[in-house]
């Protein structure tokens, strides 16, 4: 007995050791990221104790969030917190279409020979959360940094604005001058500057933490902006917690002292959270959840049109749709009312390439289902009854909360009535995109969201083959559309510009490879005590958290 004792001990010791190994294989080495962020900044709003009453809990599917660095963020989930922590020189007032100054008190666009000169005068009151003033040096540092980082949204600065490090200069501590080539529309560039990629970070805070990645890692756990909120903590994949910036210069102190943006991918969980009051606002209420919440006296549903456009498109180099008559026939064959009914109020009919809410939107919806006409046009294009066309559709739910396949089936039924078989093939979105980009898809169902709030963000992709975007993916190389889109993009006179977009819209409507279908809505559910909520997808951020109270 005694002899066995030590072996036993060692066996137990080994067992424990292995358990420890298993645990340490799983558990992280002490990573001090979270407290570092919380420590410095959470302490700031000490005067106002944080209670549930002055905390806003916003639940949404924020799975897409990969960064909180303004120079990198390009996802809906990331732009929401970033847009509430950082400010840009110019922006929109929520719900209004005119560009207004934020960090810039005024700006001037002047013809400087072979370039446009855009001069911004900074607001002398503007200061960062640290209390330091926002200077021209900070602006130049931030923009140069965005160019150096060179991530997803950088192309907006480099390609749309043609910004280089050389053509941005500080005239004095409070003035910044940006020179852009004449081929760029200063208005388009201005709207790009409202986006978070052009937000201003505090040089003094970021520069010492640049590391090997221009401070990208550091900015994921710290904020260095001048906006109404500062970062408290980002719990990866779970939540982003923002605290009111006690030094905010831009307006009345936010009523919500803390905002928790909670990642909740499951619609049923979001519904439960708003019903129980665990969340104050939930994003993306599906048609089913909306029906369940409609009668709830504690909850209000708020619907807002997104800037997305859903469309069916065809490849203009593959028969039968290489013939413009066949493309027009498709547009007359679709029962649009039926699709709008399927959306159950979560979308509006839009048959043009510029969405509602953008300058240049005409409101013309010229197509209603006319099967005789469709049949006639198809016959003219040489399409005989019984023809089969592959129709590629993504798996899963599309914008407006309806399965892509459901909308595809509706279009399939329409064409079946005139003897044309659409062969629906479902594909994972990433695979569909790969093939679409390779110009391989004969017909598909998709949606497009503009990258910035200007009609050019849709005009060029839908019309300009050279831009290698949608027109290119559908092999539609039309010189007139290309020319019109270029002209409209750089036109400075607002009235003339709208007129050019009307021409472009009508031309693409009748000749392009697209059957534009609808502009989906985004539905939010709010607890009844929540006030000041505005959803404006054209604005960055699309939800201005500092205006919300309860």
């Amino acid at each position: 007995m005694n002899g066995r004792q030590p072996t036993r001990f060692w066996r137990w010791a080994l067992l424990l050791m292995l358990v420890a190994m298993l645990m340490s294989a799983c558990a992280p080495a002490a990573a001090p990221s979270a407290p570092a962020a919380g420590g410095e900044q959470a302490a700031a709003p000490a005067s106002d104790a944080i209670t549930r009453d002055n905390t806003l809990i916003f639940a949404a599917d924020m799975t897409d969030i990969i960064t909180l660095d303004p120079a990198v963020a390009y996802e809906f989930g990331g732009i929401l917190p970033v847009g509430n922590m950082y400010e840009t020189l110019v922006s929109f007032n929520p719900g209004e279409p005119e560009i207004v100054g934020v960090l810039a008190k005024a700006w001037e666009i002047a013809d400087a020979g072979d370039v446009w000169s855009m001069t911004f005068t900074l607001n002398p009151d503007a200061k960062f959360a640290s209390g330091n003033p926002v200077t021209a040096d900070d602006v130049i540092f931030s923009w140069s940094r965005a160019l150096d980082v060179n991530k997803s949204p950088t192309w907006l600065l480099t390609d749309v604005c043609q910004m280089t490090k050389e053509n941005v200069v500080a005239v004095d501590a409070g003035t910044v001058e940006l020179k852009i080539p004449k081929t760029v529309s200063p208005n388009v560039c201005l709207s790009v500057l409202t986006f978070t990629v052009a937000a201003v970070v505090e040089k003094a805070a970021v520069e010492p933490n640049m590391g090997s990645d221009f401070g990208e890692t550091w900015l994921n756990d710290h904020s260095a902006g001048s906006g109404p909120y500062v970062l408290n903590a980002w719990e990866r994949s779970a939540s982003v917690t923002l605290d009111a910036n006690p030094n905010w210069w831009g307006g009345a102190a936010p009523a919500m002292k803390r905002v928790i943006l909670q990642n909740m991918p499951e619609p049923a969980n979001r519904q439960a959270a708003i019903e129980t009051g665990d969340a104050d606002i939930i994003q993306d209420v599906g048609p089913e959840q909306a029906a369940a919440l409609e009668g709830n006296p504690d909850v209000t549903l708020v619907k807002g049109l997104s800037t997305l456009l859903a469309y069916a498109s065809v490849n203009a180099s593959m028969p039968p749709f290489d013939n413009p008559d066949a493309r027009q026939a498709l547009r007359y064959a679709i029962n649009y009312d039926n699709i709008i009914t399927l959306l159950g109020g979560n979308g509006e009919l839009v048959q043009e390439i510029i969405p509602i809410g953008f300058a240049g939107h005409t409101g013309n919806n010229p197509f209603t289902q006319d099967l005789e006409k469709a049949k006639e046009l198809f016959a003219k294009a040489g399409v005989t009854e019984g023809a089969t066309i592959p129709f590629i559709v993504a798996t899963g739910t599309g914008p407006g909360g309806v399965e892509w396949a459901t909308i595809a089936a509706s279009i399939q039924a329409d064409l079946a009535q005139i003897g044309i078989n659409l062969d629906i093939q479902q594909m994972q979105q990433s695979e569909l995109l790969t093939k679409y980009r390779a110009q391989e898809l004969p017909m598909l169902l998709m949606n497009w969201g503009p990258d910035f709030t200007d009609p050019d963000a849709n005009g060029t992709p839908f019309s300009n083959y050279e831009a290698k975007s949608l027109a290119w993916r559908n092999s539609w190389n039309d010189p007139k559309a290309i020319e019109l889109s270029k002209q409209a993009a750089v036109e400075l006179d607002p009235a003339k510009r709208v007129e050019l977009y009307a021409q472009l819209t009508e031309y693409v409507q009748n000749n392009g490879p697209f059957a534009m279908l609808f502009q989906p809505a985004r539905v939010y559910a709010l607890r009844n005590n929540v006030q000041g909520f505005i959803y404006d997808p054209g604005d960055t951020p699309s939800i201005s958290l500092w205006l919300i109270s309860k």
Binding site: R8, W10, R11, W12, L14, L15, L18, V19, M21, L22, M23, A25, C26, A27, P28, A30, A31, P32, S33, A34, P35, T55, T63, I66, T67, Y74, S152, W155, A233, E235, R236, S237, A238, T241, I260, Q262, N263, M264, P265, E266, A268, N269, A272, A273, E275, T276, D278, A279, Q428, Q429, S430, E431, L433, T434, R437, W448, D451, P461, A467, K468
Partner: protein
């Protein structure tokens, strides 16, 4: 013993090479472009081409695998295509949540499964036995997503006895990260409100995830106990006047343990993979959800990272079981 463990760990290397080969080349067969998927539908061709180059996706597959393996040997899991962070950092964020959930489910399994199995065996063919077997039947037959939804519906939405999805109430700040397991970290830092809340949040998902394995373990324990109860040496032990407690505890249960232990080891692996569904239902920011998102966005370095971790944990758990054998049964020598 040491030699045995070394051998086991040596075997791990082959498992890892196999898993990495399999996941890497399976990922290559998917007819889609990970760089394009990561950059979204608006990205332009030049951007995608540049990102492909940056990721090294323009190299031949074999070269890519070589680069990956040489990095792996240096302990570098590479960067995620989607999150653009080191996969190791992502895993460090997501793995503890899954481990905490799995351990809690394991606890539910053991605490419920073994005692109920013993009680059922000792009361064979009585109503107690029957109810234990019905419980096992229900637990084994109900799909995880259904159990989860019912539990949430009853205990969170209707009765409001327990908190809803997530690891903590959103108004609470997570404890300082030491192990990443909220309960353990809260305990270590003496943060009692967070500790209580984290435990409350664990109850429903742990039951959901652990129910099936509880059913399996209950049945296994019952049959293993019954087998031992019928053995001659048990009769002898009783005949020589040993108390019931000693007979059951020292003679029957101890000998019934090896097959139970085997099942526990296997169940641990199945719990890890079952965590994917539970994590989805309970909004649990764990590795299961990370894996699903990574798969749909073709983020193969992330998928491989997850696969490799699973490939390490599973054999480790089995090694633990093997060592467990040698502790409970001196005839079994690990080496």
């Amino acid at each position: 013993m040491a030699a045995f463990i070394l051998r086991r760990l040596g075997g791990l290397i082959f498992v890892l090479i196999g898993v990495s080969l399999l996941t890497f080349f399976l990922a290559q067969m998917v007819p889609a472009d990970p760089a394009g998927a990561a950059l979204g539908s608006n990205a332009r061709e030049e951007q995608i081409a540049a990102y492909r180059k940056q990721l090294g996706l323009d190299e031949p597959v074999v070269v890519q695998y070589g680069i990956y393996m040489s990095r792996l040997l240096r302990g570098d899991l590479g960067n995620s295509i989607r999150t653009r962070r080191a996969v190791a950092d992502d895993l460090r964020d997501f793995l503890p949540a899954t481990v905490e959930l799995t351990l809690a489910a394991m606890l539910v399994t053991i605490v419920l499964g073994i005692p109920l199995g013993i009680i059922a065996a000792l009361n064979r063919n009585t109503w107690i036995d029957a109810s234990a077997r019905i419980l096992a039947l229900i637990g084994g037959a109900m799909p995880i997503f259904y159990v989860g939804l019912v539990l949430l519906g009853v205990f969170y939405r209707q009765l409001q006895w327990l908190p809803g999805p997530g690891r903590l109430d959103s108004t609470l700040q997570p404890p300082m990260q030491i192990t990443g397991l909220y309960t353990v970290d809260a305990l270590l830092t003496g943060n009692w409100p967070v500790f209580a809340n984290a435990i409350a949040h664990l109850i429903l998902p742990a039951i959901t995830l652990g129910l099936f394995s509880t059913a399996v373990l209950l049945r296994m324990t019952r049959s293993s106990m019954l087998e031992m109860l019928g053995q001659d040496y048990v009769r002898t032990a009783k005949a020589k006047g040993l108390g019931e407690r000693v007979v059951i505890g020292r003679h029957v249960f101890k000998n019934a343990l090896p097959p139970i232990l085997t099942i526990v080891g296997i169940l641990f692996g199945s719990l890890l993979s079952g965590a994917v569904l539970t994590e989805t239902i309970f909004n649990w920011p764990g590795i299961g959800r990370y894996a699903t998102t990574s798969v749909t966005t073709l983020d193969y370095p992330a998928v491989m990272g997850v696969a490799l971790v699973a490939a390490i944990i599973y054999p480790l758990a089995n090694t633990l079981v093997d060592i467990g054998y040698s502790i409970i049964d001196p005839r079994v020598r690990a080496d």
